[in-house]
């Protein structure tokens, strides 16, 4: 392991971390602006030009508020909860390929922190741990609303994890790899000319049902509307973070936006070709690898940001589910559908003979 | 690249001892506590001690059979937990306790 390699990876990790934080930061702002726009309003625009300094103002507010800790026998866990939630949210970004390779000074640099061969499983594993942040925090709050929110969150997340995993399996059957970079490379370009007849290479066109299931599950996993039952204000005051204030609350909220960002990135990787874009081969020929890669990074971020926008768009369109409806949807609709999709995919793979 | 085996630095005996200790901690938990759920957790700990040893020897003998076994142990553990916890919840609903010293009605 040479020094340059470590340096390069550190740089990438730092960049990814910074970008993740930045995007999460501006997602909070975006949420408010988009919410306003969907409601025919303007949203925050006073702090700085166009209100772009609003996240900083929010941050300052968060940090300067009173850090209230309720009378709980588990002070450590109370503090540990948001920390854990934030950490698990951030870890996932390490396996996400943000772009193809760059060629700098004779070195090939892959724009990814770690290309592990079981990346999809890694993501699933980390997501499954994420629930602890909510559970621990909600339980340690020593408050029945928090506990109820935590219980709801955990049961919701472990329920939808199953459907999510099953929907990914059909994608994996097509891609034949567990590496996220491998999956992206399988969706090369936009049109796939290699088959018997040309078809879109992105998996959203090959696995529309899996995409739909994954999308719904992603909403449920990030506790976003219409699945925001763990924090639903009208029933549980604030859900698992009722007792939180100051930056600990900030961490919870922030981690939610990070989760949104990561899940959008994964949706774009799994279904929208990640850093692929139409005509990328042509661009590579004309402008060279680096330029093509940079455009690819742009495409990746464009898709991801659209994903975040989609989250907010849905939030202001679809009303919240009732709890039994949520469970029915997860167990009685999505899981059977995902299994059906696996069966259909397998049948098609066998029938097409490859 | 042919990396050296981990067992050149960490003798496999170490793994034997570690998993034996974990196993005995599991046994201790079973004997020590009265809460059925914690006893359950201790059983999980024992299973994991065995899993660790299986993986260690799988690597030691360069045979993936051991890892497959761990896979099955996990499946069994998952099934056991699902059913066991369901039973515990059912018991709790009826007698409002998961204390094994209070659940002694089966002796007759």
């Amino acid at each position: 392991m040479d020094t340059i390699f470590i340096l390069e990876k550190s740089l990438i990790i730092l960049t990814v971390f910074a970008i993740t934080m930045l995007i999460a930061l501006y997602s909070t702002f975006g949420e408010r602006v988009f919410a306003a726009y969907f409601q025919d309003r303007l949203g925050p625009n006073r702090a700085g030009p166009l209100g772009l300094l609003q996240p900083l103002a929010d941050g300052v507010k968060m940090f300067t508020k009173e850090d209230f800790i309720p009378d709980t026998p588990n002070k450590f866990l109370f503090i540990f909860g948001p920390f854990l939630f934030m950490t698990t949210a951030l870890i996932t970004s390490s396996v996400i390929p943000w772009g193809d390779k760059l060629e700098i000074m004779g070195r090939t640099v892959y724009l990814q922190a770690a290309d592990i061969n079981v990346a999809v499983l890694f993501v699933l594993g980390i997501v499954s741990i994420g629930v602890y942040g909510i559970m621990v925090g909600g339980w340690a709050s020593n408050n029945k609303y928090s506990l109820l929110g935590a219980v709801r969150a955990s049961s919701q997340m472990i329920s939808y994890e199953i459907a999510m995993g099953l929907s990914i399996i059909s994608v994996l059957m097509v891609s034949e790899t567990l590496s996220l970079r491998g999956i992206v490379e399988k969706q090369h370009g936009f049109i796939d000319w290699s088959g018997k007849f040309p078809w879109f290479s992105w998996y959203v066109f090959k696995q529309p049902l899996a995409f739909l299931i994954f999308l719904v599950c992603a909403f449920a996993e990030t506790n976003r509307t219409p699945f925001d039952l763990p924090e639903c204000e009208s029933e549980l005051v604030g859900g698992y973070h009722t007792e939180y204030s100051s930056m600990k609350l900030g961490f919870y909220l922030f981690a939610e936006y990070i989760n949104m960002f990561i899940s959008s990135a994964i949706i774009s990787l799994l279904f929208f070709g990640g850093f692929n874009y139409p005509g990328m081969d042509w661009v590579k020929q004309q402008l060279g690898t680096n330029a093509a890669t940079l455009i690819g990074v742009g495409a990746m971020f464009a898709k991801t940001l659209f994903g975040i926008f989609f989250y907010m768009w849905v939030r202001w369109t679809v009303p919240r589910f009732r709890y039994d409806q949520l469970m029915n949807l997860g167990w009685k609709v999505l899981i059977p559908l995902a299994i059906l999709n696996i069966v259909i995919t397998g049948a098609v793979i066998i029938l097409s003979g490859n | 690249m042919a990396l050296l085996s981990i067992f050149q630095t960490v003798p496999v005996h170490y793994y034997l001892v570690v998993s034996a200790m974990l196993f005995c901690i599991g046994v201790l938990g079973v004997l020590y506590r009265r809460n059925a759920i914690i006893i359950f957790m201790s059983i999980e700990l024992m299973l994991n001690a065995v899993n660790l040893l299986l993986v260690a020897f799988s690597a030691y003998h360069n045979d993936s059979g051991g890892q497959v076994f761990v896979f099955f142990v996990m499946a069994v553990a998952a099934a056991e937990v699902a059913v066991g916890l369901a039973i515990l919840v059912a018991i709790f609903r009826n007698v409002h306790a998961v204390d094994i010293d209070e659940l002694k009605n089966l002796k007759w």
């Binding site: - | 046994v27 079973v30 004997l31 009265r34 094994i100 010293d101 659940l103 002694k104 009605n105 089966l106 002796k107």
Partner: protein, 631 residues
């Protein structure tokens, strides 16, 4: 082979269908279903039979699967089809089919209709198994099976305790015979190592010690006496008339009771090497024949008369077997099946018309009410009495000739029997069908001819009884004895020595028998039609008549010398052995374990923690043992 299997399995299928779904089917369907399976079996049997007749069919002897095998012992489950079994196949399925059809009408009011037919089908199945078995064990299964069906059918109306007792009696008596059969098989198995007929037949004479042959044949014959109602095990048959009349016709006249004949004929190669047994067979047959015939003369129950007649005829057949005239015995089995089935069915028709009345003293004058029944009954009576040219004439005459050739005393007894037969059959016929009706007005009012389903089988059977004689026209008159040739591949080896009688002697015998029969009939005509004599009422018999009327008190003697001592012994055994010794042992062990359990129970605290502690400590102990002692 498949077809053969089909013949056997079809009735079984009919049994299963009727047993499980019969109650849900309409009566007509279940009855015709049962008849149809037997009919198909009959058609398939006829196919084989035709093959044997034309000579295209050869003997089938094959094991279906290896049934019992350990060491040198091997018993297969297999079938043997040769000319002998083919004849029985025809009789069983053919007459069985007619009786099935008859039963549809006869039993139509019974609420357990489907069950009845399922029993009938089961019986046919076991009978076919008995006839077709290629070794003694398969035959024995059929043997036991028909016994079971016989029990079920005799006791079919089990609500009547007498009928139940009759069924039990039949069962027990059969068991006694079966015991002989079983012992015979055991001895055979011990000394020859096989039960297959083909293997047994291939044993050279002189290989087996004489006493074994005598013992085996005697034991098998005890089995035959049980099944075929010979002295001393004959008393169950008259009682078995408690069953529905079609059952009497099917089981106790045409098929099951001839199983003993079949067994002796089948194992004829053994009997041929044991002339002592043959003598015993002939003697017992003769004794049974004359005894049953005399009892038959004084019976007043229409079915009882026929039952004793059956016993008597079976005795005649055993006489034929005993003198080595196997063909004659088989011949008589066939003709007897025709006319006796016809007689039973006819009596059933009468009983049916009189709504269950069986006493001939309350019958009479039925001729004008039931002409078809009368005429078929008459034909069958003529046949059984040995009147030319009906079938009984030929078969009975053969037996008489064979007996004459063998020993004169046998001939005298057989002759007497046949004279008595003619007498009591016509006594029965006259008392039932001629004169004035002696029953109640109520019964007279309802007198009617039976429906076609009853009369058609009667007509067919009587036709067969008429022409059945052509199977074995006497050779000395220059005719071709078809049955003898047909059976020659099977019974040739049995050493049936052709009786060396001159033509004139045979002709004289034939004429004498015919004349005697006619005289008997005439005597009974004078007595019962002209004289209008009636059997004396109950309890007014005198002297010898009284003795005979009470069947020589055989049942009572059995009761005194066998049943009561056995009961007494059983009682002692029950009080002493069962109550004290066996029950005491069992109860003591139970009490001991209860006491022990009560003590050990205290270990079961119910605390899981303790159990687990014990588990761990035991584990430690095992490891310590392994470490310190084993290593």
């Amino acid at each position: 082979m498949t077809v053969l299997l089909l013949i056997v399995l079809l009735p079984l299928a009919g049994f299963l269908l009727n047993a499980f779904w019969g109650k849900r089917l309409p009566k007509v369907v279940s009855g015709w279903l049962a008849s149809a399976v037997v009919f198909v079996s009959f058609v398939l049997s006829a196919y084989y039979f035709a093959g044997f007749v034309s000579g295209t069919q050869t003997k089938i002897d094959a094991d279906i699967y290896r049934w019992i095998q350990f060491g040198d012992l091997f018993i297969g489950f297999g079938f043997l089809l040769d000319q002998l079994s083919a004849i029985w196949l025809m009789v069983v399925t053919g007459i069985g089919f007619l009786i099935h059809v008859y039963s549809i009408s006869y039993m139509h009011d019974d609420e357990r209709f489907a069950q009845f037919f399922s029993y009938l089908n089961l019986f046919i199945f076991f009978m076919l198994l008995l006839v077709l078995g290629n070794n003694l064990l398969v035959t024995f299964i059929g043997w036991e099976g028909v016994g079971l069906c016989s029990y079920l059918l005799i006791g079919f109306w089990f609500k009547n305790q007498d009928y139940n007792n009759a069924a039990k009696k039949a069962f027990v008596m059969n068991r006694i015979g079966d015991l002989g059969f079983l012992f015979g098989m055991f001895i055979l198995l011990t000394h020859t190592g096989t039960l297959h007929f083909s293997n047994l037949a291939s044993i050279q004479p002189g290989v087996l010690p004489k006493w074994i042959l005598v013992a085996v044949t005697a034991l098998l014959f005890i089995g035959a006496t049980g099944k075929s109602a010979q002295i001393p095990l004959y008393t169950w048959l008259p009682d078995a008339m408690a069953g529905p009349t079609p059952v009497s016709a099917l089981i106790h006249a045409a098929t099951m009771v001839t199983a003993g004949i079949y067994l002796v004929a089948r194992t004829g190669f053994l009997y041929a090497q044991a002339p002592e047994t043959l003598t015993a067979v002939a003697s017992i047959g003769a004794a049974t024949a004359i005894l049953a015939a005399t009892i038959g003369v004084f019976q007043n129950d229409i079915k009882k008369v026929l039952a004793y007649s059956t016993v008597s005829q079976l005795g005649l057949m055993f006489v034929a077997l005993g003198v080595g005239a196997y063909v004659s015995a088989v011949f008589h089995v066939v003709t007897h099946a025709f006319f006796k089935a016809c007689l039973f069915l006819g009596s059933g028709s009468v009983i049916h018309a009189l709504h269950g009345e069986q006493d001939i003293r309350r019958m009479g004058g039925l001729k004008k009410y039931m002409p078809v029944t009368y005429w078929t009954f008459l034909i069958s009576s003529l046949a059984i009495s040995g009147i030319f040219p009906f079938s009984g004439f030929f078969s009975k005459d053969e037996i008489l000739a064979a007996a004459f050739a063998h020993h004169k005393i046998l001939w005298v007894i057989a002759m007497l029997t046949s004279l008595l037969t003619a007498f009591y059959m016509f006594r029965l016929l006259f008392l039932t069908f001629t004169g004035e009706f002696r029953g109640t007005e109520e019964q007279r009012h309802h007198l009617h001819e039976s429906p076609p389903l009853i009369t058609i089988p009667l007509i067919i059977l009587s036709a067969l009884a008429t022409v059945g004689g052509v199977l074995g026209l006497p050779e000395f008159l220059g005719f071709h004895h078809w049955l003898k040739n047909f059976l020659s591949p099977v019974v040739a080896k049995s050493g049936a020595h052709a009786h060396a009688l001159s033509h004139s002697t045979e002709l004289a015998l034939m004429g004498g028998a015919l004349a005697g029969a006619i005289v008997s009939i005439a005597y009974s005509y004078i007595l019962f039609v002209r004289g209008g004599a009636l059997p004396v009422p109950e309890g007014e018999e005198k002297g010898i008549t009284r003795l005979v009327y009470h069947k020589y008190y055989v049942d009572e003697i059995y009761e005194k010398i066998i049943v009561q001592p056995v009961m007494f012994l059983s009682d002692i055994a029950y009080r002493l052995l069962d109550r004290r010794v066996i029950d005491g042992l069992v109860n003591t062990s139970g009490r001991l374990s209860m006491i022990a359990g009560g003590q050990i129970r205290k270990l079961q605290t119910g605390y899981i923690g303790y159990y687990m502690m014990f588990m761990v400590l035991s584990l430690v102990a095992v490891f310590v043992y392994a470490l310190l002692i084993r290593l």
